[in-house]
Symmetry: C2
Amino acid sequence: MSKDERVKPSQPGGFNDYGPAPMIARTRMVDTIRRTYELFGFQPLDTPCVEFAEVLLGEGGDTDKEVFRLVSPEEDKELALRFDLTVPLARYVAANTDLLLPFKRYQIGLVFRGEKPQAGRFRQFMQVDADIIGARVGLADAEIIAVTVGAMEALGIERFVVRINDRKVHEGLAEALGIQTRGSLPRGELVNELLRVLDKLDKIGRDGVRAELARKPEHENDRSLKLSAAQIELVDRFLDIAGDNSAKLDQVAGMIRGETGKEGVAELRAILSHLRDLGVNESRVRVDLAVARGLAYYTGPVLETTLSDLPEIGSVASGGRYDDMIGRFHANPIAAVGTSIGLDRLFDALGKLNLVPLVESEVDALVVVFDAALLPRYLNTVGELRRAGISAEVYLGSDSGFKAQMRYGLRKGVKHLVLCGEDEIAKGGVQVKDLAARQQEFVKAEELIAYLQKKKA
Amino acid sequence: MSKDERVKPSQPGGFNDYGPAPMIARTRMVDTIRRTYELFGFQPLDTPCVEFAEVLLGEGGDTDKEVFRLVSPEEDKELALRFDLTVPLARYVAANTDLLLPFKRYQIGLVFRGEKPQAGRFRQFMQVDADIIGARVGLADAEIIAVTVGAMEALGIERFVVRINDRKVHEGLAEALGIQTRGSLPRGELVNELLRVLDKLDKIGRDGVRAELARKPEHENDRSLKLSAAQIELVDRFLDIAGDNSAKLDQVAGMIRGETGKEGVAELRAILSHLRDLGVNESRVRVDLAVARGLAYYTGPVLETTLSDLPEIGSVASGGRYDDMIGRFHANPIAAVGTSIGLDRLFDALGKLNLVPLVESEVDALVVVFDAALLPRYLNTVGELRRAGISAEVYLGSDSGFKAQMRYGLRKGVKHLVLCGEDEIAKGGVQVKDLAARQQEFVKAEELIAYLQKKKA
């Protein structure tokens, strides 16, 4: 091909390759999370990456998500790439009316964000979700929190905390603050604004929150809350609440107003009690009154997961209850609660914390092509090893010198070289070189499989 | 949400959901293929679903692939969804110039075809590929065929055959037929036309092939070959070649012309010899002179895999050597050969052959909520079972009658119900009901874990 016809082998920003070492580590992580979800009784589901845009965005075309739209060969309806696994789950549940409920499903899938490329932003990433459909608030929420804790523990993460709260508690705070419908702005939108500001606490700090809460609206549709000093003081006291989970909830109960708020406190108390009964380590779950979750679709308990050594990266596993979403698709709303582990962010974080061992391969044996005339014998050996479940290969490169083969074995992270020339044949065996231990010993041909199996174990 | 705002939970054609039972089966299949690839020394790689369109299609914009293009927030270059895993691999190899060669990589990934929806056509499907980059023809091709056979055998498929051929053998046939440059049509394009017609043998039969070969060109750029009766007779004799692999190659050698054709025969002989040395069952691999593979990028040995009981569905694992592709991206062409298992087609086929056992879940124990007051105790049990590696759950539905819980357990395919009321507590244990065996027995509390573990084994 001429130089003019050649294409630069480049990639769009935010779309990443994962070579062998990160892929081996990521696959282990996904397998570990999958096993945890299965241990908790979740069943797998797969839905495609492509959905009708109206399914993802709703009739009106929700604008807070940036989706990739496809140039579609269909004429009638626009296609788009999913931005999460939750909306497709809601579509699946609404479409499959004979589904067995409660439905505990997990899903491992790629999601896409149709934004412009920016440094450090993924535009394709993997989510590993577990959701429970058709179970009312309480025990199901505890299960979702427990499986999140279980997955983090199974991944070998020791320093993390799942922070929980309840949207209804914030509703009780809004009630205590006396937030009301204002002009054409419904009360719900102003309560959402309160949640939005509280959710930014980690980023903007307490002073930032105070300033945003005090800000005056500049036009009729501006949701700024214009809270008074006395109101802001109440928010401050709310955020100051300290102590163990039980003590916090006692104080919250005395500060909020209205039935919904009380329900929120009762829900959190019940969830904590269920978690104790399930044997979840109490230090893993903390009531955090600042947790609000930005997404408007949550309706009850919410959760975020922070790595204690990397709080600045934000939550690595988040979720909550979204009892209204399936109602987007059919008349019977169905209760729903879930958790989503962001694999890419978690993988990067565990890398920073040196919690991800990287290996290039797990090949047990490279049979060196020592003497080309003996190739049939080398291939016999490779075939026998594989049939015994031992990962093995023969060197395929054209530079057949021993050095090149040794370098290949070392760079690929092969565990053993198997060497065999006329001398070894005369003695009825092979030399086995352990590349990590830098040791070599003679092994009889008939003992090679047992020898390598023993070293695997 | 009002009825007007509701969205129909529908899906575009060719994009499929997989519920729990098919997903459990598919995941097992993928895991089995993955383990086979690892056993053969292949390393995992992941590349994203989205690439620059020019990378996928080449500078000119290859038109025989229908790709989904994205409405992209980038201004400069068009984005598209990949249609296979091979072109992204070539891009990866070209971009990573320090890659260790030979590179034996496997990849499990979704690919997309941007065609209009048609009955029975997938527009998203999964490919499970293994490729060897940087190894010349011969042993590497044998490895690719061996790993294809290995994966099919590991999947428990008994009746299949990998059919192999070599593009160079067809070149030798073209030479024997005396195919030459014609007007503005280069000889290579006419040889490709010969391959295209031979590739259709399964679909159009021998008469169809004869008719297509005899067809006269209707305009200057028409590639129709207009073969004479004598030429067609030669093609017939070529396709009539029978016998075992060795006998076939002997006859081919006597019929074709030119150095390239001879090389092709020698390549196939060497591959068959390596496969014997690797211990691959000879009945698994058959020289089939009609195998041509439609894709223009193959340059040497090619393979297709047919299920003996479902030949009509076409190949379930295909591949070959494509030594020129990486040259699309940089000046140094790098040798390459690979195989691709089409998971969706294979999954459907194995389903038709009743080779895919379907289970809804693998939950070991559903702890029945027999008495709401005992919920803490039930949760204790669930937590203990999970910590011992036994998949367990407590019923989360609101209809807490025993019948509803029993129905849930049966429909979900749970293996055991664990029942505990005041009587069982008094006796210090639980009733365990095996739903498949329809047997129930009393098990002491301290023996429950061992009891269920023993039944798992």
